[in-house]
Amino acid sequence: MMVPVSILFACALLCLILETLGTSLGERKTGNRYYIVLVALTGILAAAYHLPTQLIFGVCTLLTLMSLILAVSQMHHADLELGDAYALILVVYALLLLLCTAHNLVDFAVITAFLNLIFIGLAYFRRSRRLVAEIAIKLLFSALFYFCFLSVAIILALQSTGSTDWAILLTHPEAQLAISFVWIAALLWIGSVPFLGVHVDYLDAAPSFASVLFLGSILISGGVLISTLTAHPLDPKLFQVLVFFAGASLLVPPILGLDQRRIGRMIAYLVMTQAGVLLLLALFQIPVLPIFYLHLAIALPGTIAGIRFWKHSQNSDKSWEDYAGAGRKHPFVGFAWLFILASFGGVPPTLGFWLYGQLANKALQTGAPWVLLLILLAIIASMIPIARLGVFMFSKPVRHDLVLLHQPRQAFLVITCALFIFVAKIVCLAIPNVHEFQNFVSRLPGLNL
């Protein structure tokens, strides 16, 4: 059974490379359709072989649905063939499922490298060619760096332990250096400080389904990797260094975002704080990571749809002033969008605040009250630009005729996402035990595997 799946997967990757190269060169051949069908079928078969019975599949499914809804609403704006993007999205999910079941370092390195490749391909489904080319080059360099770190880690692991299996690596005393390299790769993968720039560029220039997929995928798969690495007790010095990076990831992006005039870029910085949240949740071993993924799966499409809602075809780079009075014209969409952003910021009564609350409880139990100060600073730093956006949206008189830009699909998506976040918060409060929550989700129709 392993051989056919491997062959199929190799075919899929070959097709993917051809497809990506073809798209990047601007060649749209009819023959591409065959590759697309093959890639999609391969992804489904590969996923079917490795179907895990974890909550992560449910989260990925939700993310798929959200992304597909968003993709459908975006397709008529993009100059592309419909099947290309769908095929790549399917392959991303197939790879994500494989990633969740990866037991050794080699699997992880190979799968994430191909994921990076797909994201470069997805970035090309954009109109602004120059910007996209820059992003793709940056992302390519990032992927190469990432693969280099993991390659060094694999070599070190083989030299020290003779194995690349997680179970051996994490417990073997001589594998510390290899694990350190894996940690650097993990920080790069999730876009933590100091590896922030590439991810922000991607999000900023591609506020579309590709962004949702990209950030959701790196954070969810990064969460799997980091929770694997933190499953065993960490060296105290390494723990301190990682907490420093987590704190920096929480504070630096919103501070950098303050200086941005373009809303898309400001929100990209804001979203990148989630890497810090993920790191802290994993380092303190708080069992709410599935809910964190759920939060991402709901909030990311809502955020991007909010940007798209007010995006003008002739002026794609909206600044603060362009949002003057936007909330007064569309109060419900504006309020829902701010609610979603506030959830990323972490103020009550959002799901983001609930996650911070769980972190604070755990920090108090483990005798680390300084984490509370970190959380407080992170919330305030994130809320400064969000509150400013709210003021521009609701306090100033209307300057533009924004009614003409009203897009029902995005409005529906933004409001639905905001409601989902609110309901998820109530569900989390009603079911404080995360294991019960997992059981609850696994019993949902369509998610029960």
Binding site: P331, V347, P348, P349, A360, L364, P369, L372, I375, L376, I379, I380, M383, I384, A387, R388, G390, V391, F392, F394, S395, K396, P397
Partner: protein, 311 residues
């Protein structure tokens, strides 16, 4: 005792009903709002007589409702504001009634956030800037107090009292007051005072720790009161003077609530603060009648007298 959820939901449902009433004309909507206010008042009195609500809760809710009852929205007010005022009433009620300290702070934060949202609708760029600064101020102190509840340190007391002090316009903790209240319509001023002050008093009465340094508290409160009195004397705007007069009294009331170990004295101080609130509301209602100032000054002098000769 009826479930708190019912009391919390009541004003929200009322807000929904008001927003659904077809506007026969602009005065009808105002009259309907008055009917709902009277109904809400009756509910509080009924629950108070029945014994379901404590005397403290009754006092706080009645003061809030009576001050809000005078709010009349203008013809050009956005239709969202009347339901929002009911939403604010509901959140403030929930904050006053909740037995959980953390939940009280979250509800207080939500209340002030929506209140500032309403305030930002009433002015141009300048008011937007003032509400933005105030929002960040309240986010900071409310969440700092929220996270400080569990900390085992004595110095957190000074963080814990900040949300309460800021809401009763304790001068040192209300740097936003001047910019927020200047050129503010009367109805919005009343909405802010009626919601924030009872919630602030409720929080001060529920502070779980005794004051660790009474002398410092006394210096701060009397200094603040003196500072507010000077501002009261040099201010020319009559509305601003009403606010500064309230500040002189609320600072002293805060001293009594926080500095006294006796529950009766604390309740008495809370009552004094509510009287000062009603007094300020009266000033704002009757702003065109200068003789009312005599009543204000008398009440302020009485408060000070009672504070000097401590009961």
């Amino acid at each position: 005792m009826p479930r708190i959820e019912i009391i919390i939901l009541a004003p929200l449902i009322a807000a929904l009903l008001i927003s659904l009433v077809p506007p026969l004309d602009i005065r009808t909507r105002s009259a309907m709002s008055m009917v709902f206010q009277l109904g809400w008042l009756g509910l509080i009195i009924f629950l108070g007589i029945q014994g379901s609500l404590g005397r403290v809760h009754c006092g706080l809710l009645l003061a809030q409702t009576l001050v809000t009852a005078g709010v009349r929205f203008r013809k050009n007010t956005p239709s969202l504001l009347p339901p929002m005022s009911w939403l604010l009433t509901g959140i403030a009620t929930a904050a006053i009634l909740t037995p959980d300290l953390s939940l009280l702070l979250i509800l207080a934060y939500l209340h002030i956030a929506f209140l500032l949202f309403v305030t930002s609708q009433t002015g141009g760029i300048y008011k937007g800037s003032a509400t933005y600064e105030s929002f960040l101020f309240f986010v900071t102190i409310d969440l700092a107090a929220y996270f400080s509840i569990s900390l085992p340190y004595l110095w957190t007391y000074w963080i814990l009292i900040l949300p309460g002090l800021a809401r009763i316009l304790f001068p040192l903790t209300a740097p936003y007051a001047r910019s927020l209240f200047v050129n503010c319509p009367t109805e919005i001023m009343l909405l802010m005072l009626s919601g924030a002050v009872p919630v602030g008093i409720a929080w001060l009465l529920r502070i779980p720790l005794p004051c660790p340094y009474l002398e410092l508290l006394e210096i701060l409160s009397f200094g603040s009161s003196f500072f507010a009195a000077i501002l009261f004397l040099i201010e020319k705007s009559r509305r601003q003077r009403a606010i500064y007069l309230f500040m002189t009294q609320s600072a002293l009331c805060a001293r009594l609530i926080l500095g006294s170990g006796s529950l009766h004295v604390q309740l008495f101080a809370g009552l004094l603060c509510l009287v000062a609130l009603a007094n300020t509301a009266l000033w704002l209602y009757l702003i065109d009648y200068p003789r009312v100032r005599i009543l204000n000054t008398t009440l302020a002098a009485a408060t000070l007298f009672l504070l000097v000769y401590r009961p």
